[in-house]
């Protein structure tokens, strides 16, 4: 347990506390290297690449964009709803969102 958390604290982008999930999505969906993935996400969010790991910047921005935060903000998008907003923001398709759309069609 201590090992993954140590890596997250030492080197990680801290997931939805900041923009780690978004950068990871670009690496995996488009095979972007780290520099390119950060540039791409920063451009889409209108922030600097340094801001992508800044919880203070990202907390407010994530709420504004409705792409999910760590706490239960009343009425805010969570889970699959947040991912549908991420799809639009990053211009990518997410498999679980496709499945959900198929299920409600």
């Amino acid at each position: 347990m201590g090992m993954p958390i140590s890596h997250i604290m030492a080197s990680g982008m801290t997931g939805i506390r900041a923009a780690g999930d978004l950068v990871a999505r670009m690496e995996f969906s488009k095979k972007m290297r780290i520099g390119e993935a950060k540039e791409y996400v920063a451009k889409k969010l209108g922030v600097s690449t340094l801001d992508l790991s800044d919880e203070h910047v990202m907390r407010e921005l994530r709420e504004e964009l409705d792409i999910g935060v760590i706490t239960s903000v009343a009425g805010a998008a969570k889970g699959i709803a947040a991912k549908m907003n991420i799809e639009k923001l990053l211009d990518v398709k997410i498999n679980s969102c496709d499945l959900f759309r198929k299920q409600i069609a």
């Binding site: 990680g12 790991s53 679980s96």
Partner: protein, 355 residues
């Protein structure tokens, strides 16, 4: 008396080394990797940088601000609810709870759902359970969520599987039969992995993590590469992480090739282009930790291998940094001082795209 710095052996035991000794160990470790892989050793500046990281006074260290990278997770929630006598802590909880804890409480950049036995073959009898868990988790999660397991081709050999154990066959000098057994096992590994992931993709999975490819040698790598190729063809948008088991592909078969390249004996910088060719999104290179050597020796060696892999790869490299790999000491509770130093060195010197 020269100042000594508190470091670790490869088994985690604390040792004290002078700056001169640290530099000597780093150079020796790097030279070992360079010799084995026929790759460049770390230059003087890189050796100095890793030494500086190792000698930092704090218990934990971290990358410079702005250099953070995504951290992916092998074994998924099993580190919470599982207990295999190694990495799991056996806390009773559902896998959905485990996933959400990683996302909301631990700051994980991606997450993985896995089966308690954590190999692809035993997932088949419980596939419906896995699909149900995946769908429920995907409805609640925001970070990319993979399905992950080990290819573990050894499970296809007797007494666990249908094909005669090639080790036994080789002992009886039945070389052709041993090769046949490995080839049949690789075919089944490919077929099973595809079958499992077809169902998990239909349940909304973001993708698949091949955790510890090559654990059963070149046949394991062969079967996994063909599974990756088929999955990429069927699901063009699938996220595929191809993580290796060891630094060198063991030539259990010796003759297997992928796209004309013999798989036996490949090092990380030679494995990466094949994973990319097969269709992986991200490659997970490995360097094994030698428990009898110091952490500077192991880290110098690991950073050298990873730097070459990052350079040779056309896809992002998420270096494997669990217990006993990537310069991390080999024990259940790797000391945080050693983990964070290895983490920082991999990002800042090897230039990895993630961990």
């Amino acid at each position: 008396m020269a100042t000594e710095y508190a470091l670790r052996m490869g088994d985690g035991k604390r040792i004290f080394l002078s700056k001169e000794k640290i530099l000597e160990e780093l150079e020796a470790g790097s030279a070992d990797a360079a010799d084995l892989g026929e790759i460049p050793a770390l230059n003087g500046n890189e050796i100095d940088k890793v030494a500086e990281i190792l000698m930092m006074p704090g218990k934990t260290v971290s990358v410079e601000q702005g250099m953070e990278v995504p951290v992916t997770h092998d074994i998924g929630t099993l580190r919470i609810d599982g207990d295999q006598g190694n990495s799991g802590v056996g806390i009773p909880s559902s896998r959905l709870v485990g996933c959400m804890m990683h996302e909301r409480a631990f700051g994980a950049d991606t997450m993985e759902l896995g089966h308690i036995d954590y190999s692809y073959k035993p997932v088949k009898p419980v596939i419906s359970n896995e699909c149900q868990a995946m769908e429920v988790c995907q409805q609640n999660m925001i970070v990319p969520l993979f399905y992950g397991a080990m290819p573990n081709m050894g499970l296809y050999y007797t007494p666990d599987g249908p094909f005669e154990n090639p080790g036994d066959l080789m002992k009886a000098f039945k070389i052709q039969e041993a090769w046949d057994s490995m080839e049949h096992s690789a075919e089944h590994l490919t077929r099973d992995t595809i079958w499992i992931m077809q169902r998990l993709m239909a349940s909304g999975s973001d993708g698949v993590n091949f955790d510890t490819i090559g654990a059963a040698g070149d046949g394991d790598f062969f079967g996994s590469l063909h599974a990756i190729e088929a999955l990429r063809k069927e699901f063009p948008n699938i996220y595929i992480e191809a993580g290796m088991a060891g630094e060198c592909v063991l030539g259990m078969h010796g003759e297997l090739k992928y796209e004309g390249t013999t798989l036996a004996g490949l090092w990380p910088h030679q494995q990466a282009p094949l994973a990319a060719k097969a269709g992986a999104s991200v490659f997970g290179p490995v360097c094994n930790t030698n428990t009898s050597k110091t952490s500077p020796w192991n880290l110098g060696r690991a950073v050298t291998f990873m730097k070459a892999a990052v350079k040779a790869s056309t896809i992002p490299c998420h270096v494997d940094m669990g217990m006993g790999v990537g310069g991390i000491p080999m024990l259940e509770t790797p000391p945080i001082d050693a983990v964070t130093r290895a983490s920082k060195a991999m990002v800042e010197v090897a230039g990895v795209d993630g961990i």
